[in-house]
Amino acid sequence: MVSRSRGPGRNMLGKSRVSGNSRIKGYSRAAARASRAICALALAAGIATTAQAEGLSDLSLGGFQRKIAVFDPGGRYLTRPLERRVPGLVAKGQYYFSSGVMFQKNDGAGFREKDFRLLQAQNVFEAEFSYRISSKLALTSINHFQYDAVYDIESARGIYADQVDREFEYYDDFERIARELYISYRTPKFDMVVGKQQIAWGKMDGRCIDVINPMDQRESVQLESSDYERRRLPLWMANGTYYFENASVNLLWIPDYNENVNPVYGSPWFSPLIPPTDQMARANKALLNGDVDAGGDRYLLSNSPDWQDIEDHQFAARLDSGIGKLTWGLIYYYAWERNASNEVAGSFVSGPDTQLTFRPNHNRLHHFGVTSDYAWTASSVPVIGNLPMVLRVEALYTTGVRFADANRQAAARGGSMNNGLSEHNTLRAAVALELALPDNLSIILQPSFYMTQNWNNGLGSGFGGAVADKWALAPVFFIEKPIRATRDRLKLTTTVTPYISWPNRGFQGMKTKVTASYELSQYIRGKITYTSYTGGDMNDLYGQYDDYDNIGIEFGYEF
């Protein structure tokens, strides 16, 4: 383990980092803004010129549809010429824009100032290259350039996360820009991928056993399965798979380590429950830097895993097989906590109060998981007739999860020194039933379950457990319908996620998401999403975001 200096690195909730001023050498903030504005103008001009050249100014709807169907300037002028020049190269590009605007602009939500409406205006450019060196060897590079314009557009006092961590505004280092970079060696029976990559284990929506990579969780409760591809944080690893006749074994060796990225002070989704107020936090550099918390406790340097020490590496294994129509898999992951636990390292007196000194530390976790699916067709179902369906099951049991324990911290303040943590095992599981109804209507029922063993009232949050409670159930309901009259270009989906826990909190609110997506062409798609948070109390999982109902517009162009 090494003690990391404050600078690069990710912070758990409540511990923030002042941006490294030296990272933008030679640029002032104004110059950076100007260059982004120039890029935006150039992009708009390019699109307008190309649109003109492509005849998109034809105002007839049918004519417009015919033109937009083949409108692909990125493919025509960038990727296809490149592929023609370099045989064996596959080049892809993507521009993705996503925005979110809240319906309510209050003068506050909990400790948050919440004097803004715009939640995000993210622009992501992705450049992907895959070069086939031989029939068995390939090199892949995926690069991301992300810029969230909310920090330039919104002049609200409540939006200042770019001052805490510049990467909330845009990516400016190799770690984030060079998103994936790996070399693959393949034979029919053997697969080896070495380099920076992301792995998604599991068969169902959500992240039941999808635990290999950390995640950029800056959007907190707004984060969706459809975002994981962009938000999962790749790691340097060796990933090998051997294929037997009816089974496969996948082994991972991960020297790299990264924490989750969580919302920070001044980010739109920072929890309203975390003190102090934004007015106080903005002026408190030590707080923003993670040196202290709102209560005056101090935080030492974090002990993080050291990639140069093999004992700090992570290892994982997965076995997959099938019996007839049933497929199943088992996983084991010897991992580190993704969010450091704050261990009490000492105490000091400040005025009349005894304060604690914490050292953020990472603890080892053992993850044991199972995944399975089975499909069949029920016949003679009333009204419907034949009903095809698939059942998916996943579960993850984790040992060694450390929770901040308020009771133990109180004892430490009272003189009974202890580390302020307690260790528990957690279980999370999900069952999904997907039904294929007539007219391409799909329904998924997916109850997810969370449990912390030996839970007590003083525990904070921990991996795999319920939020602020011993048990929790989140019965997700999903329905999707493509509209045939539009040739399935228009698709409507609704996802409803209530969160119910016990014995303490009960109903912690519900998240409802309604989406209309439309395929303008094979290259261009748009989406409008309405998300609401209802029910629960102000200190509940969804209840705290009761005033955060929002509507978002997304646009994507792939070439």
Partner: protein, 433 residues
């Protein structure tokens, strides 16, 4: 408006002429008009219904012998499903276009593995529920689909085995292999005319079969006049250009073309047995099959009300020269048309190469293989349509043929566009009428 009225008038006049044309000038004939030579090939005696103690399979083993009854012809048609009935690799190119000209296209590299020897015998004789074919498709175009994969494990159906295939997908955006519910067989693919049954094929034991006559077809797949050439791919991956006017319905090796270039066909009707397919959305299929190999050049579907819905026409090619007679023929190009949506779709099976799979290579056909995102056998094709105006023409409707069996109502606006298409030799879109 004047152009529309003129087109409708011409279209209607053509219908009237065809309906009243004397039998000697028309190409279709009912059963009572078959020649003696034709009666040597087929047995038009109705196939008696099975007794409960009888097997649902024909008494005579496949491939049967002449004269073939209608059911046996239905089994012979099984040899000519959308995908070739032997292990192979190919480039699958497909797309669709709306009445207003919105076009979408995709390409995939396809790998198919069949158990047993080429042809449908293994499937016919297998136990219900057994897998008879594994197929893997890797999307290469458009960019938003690149890297997506589908795996189908095709299963033989039976009285208690309605599941036709195990269906898995891999999505790069999810990075997961997901088992999908077995598809509803008659549901059309998104943005397409084809259904799963159109692509995977129909089991003849689930239908009753009868002949309705004979006919001659002169055109199946039709190209617009502004697409005089197209580029296809040979099995070795090299490209070659062909004149679309030179493409023949059953390729250059077919031995039974008429002097005038037509192909003589038998016309056979298949109707679902409701104890097998109680809720099947198709009430009837009408097949035009060539007399020599029983290759289906044209297939029409009728909905549960007996109304015409879709038509499929095909080009075939002898892609497996190791197989005798017509067994080596397979689908090369198909065009589909949905009359309700006026949606036209196409499919080209390009760069076709016969390929046996070693035991080691059988790992390609397991669901978890897709996580590797490995396009093991890239197959390139240049058969995409460049512009909406160059899209395939709608198939002929033959409104006058077999009127007692074919209930075809075409809305006036669709008829207008068809007439304009036939007059101009290329697609005419809804806003251009």
């Amino acid at each position: 408006m004047r152009h529309n009225a003129k087109a409708i008038f011409l279209f209607s006049a053509a219908l009237m002429w065809a309906a009243n044309a004397p039998a000697a000038e028309r190409t279709w004939r009912t059963l009572d008009q078959l020649t003696d030579a034709e009666k040597q090939i087929i047995d038009t005696t109705p196939v008696p219904p099975r007794m409960p103690e009888q097997s649902y399979l024909p008494e005579e083993p496949y491939p049967f012998s002449a004269p073939y009854n209608a059911e046996e012809v239905g089994y012979r048609v099984m040899n000519f499903t959308h995908m070739a009935r032997w292990s192979h690799i190919m480039a699958d190119v497909f797309g669709s276009i709306t009445k207003s000209g919105y076009m979408s296209q995709s390409t995939m590299s396809g790998l198919a593995s069949y158990k047993g020897k080429p042809g449908p015998e293994f499937q016919i004789n297998a136990e219900p529920g057994d897998v008879y074919s594994d197929q893997l498709f890797y999307y290469t175009y458009p960019p938003k689909n690149e890297g997506e994969q589908m795996m189908w494990n095709l299963r033989r159906t039976g009285p208690e085995q309605a599941t036709k295939l195990d269906y898995f997908i891999y999505s790069p955006s999810l990075r997961r292999v997901r088992r999908q519910p077995p598809p509803r067989r008659e549901n059309q693919f998104p943005d397409s005319v084809q259904s799963f049954d159109d692509v995977v094929g129909r089991e003849p034991w689930e239908f009753t079969w009868r002949f309705i006559g004979a006919d001659t077809i002169y055109e199946s797949v039709r190209f617009p006049k502004n697409r005089p050439t197209m580029t296809l791919t040979k099995p070795d991956g090299s490209f070659f250009e062909v004149n679309t006017a030179d493409l023949k319905m059953l390729g250059s090796e077919y031995p039974s073309y008429r002097e005038d270039g037509g192909v003589e066909c038998f016309v056979v009707v298949a109707e679902p047995q409701r104890d097998w397919l109680p809720d099947y959305g198709v009430s009837k299929l009408v097949y035009w099959v060539d007399k020599t190999y029983f290759y289906p050049l044209r297939i029409e579907q009728y909905d549960s009300d007996g109304k015409f819905t879709t038509v499929q026409v095909r080009f075939a090619q002898r892609e497996n020269s190791a197989l005798p007679d017509g067994e080596g023929y397979t689908n090369n190009q198909s065009v589909y048309w949905d009359s309700k949506l006026d949606l036209t779709a196409f499919s080209v099976h390009d760069a076709h190469k016969v390929k046996g799979w070693s035991e080691e290579e059988q790992t390609f056909f397991t669901p978890d293989f897709m996580r590797r995102r490995w396009e093991t056998h890239p197959r390139k094709s240049l058969a995409l349509v460049d512009k909406p105006e160059q899209f395939y023409l709608r198939p002929h409707l033959y409104l006058d043929r077999f009127p007692s069996e074919r209930k075809i109502d075409i809305p006036a606006d669709v008829a207008s566009r068809i007439a304009a298409q036939d007059a101009s030799g290329q697609l005419v879109f809804a806003d251009e009428e």
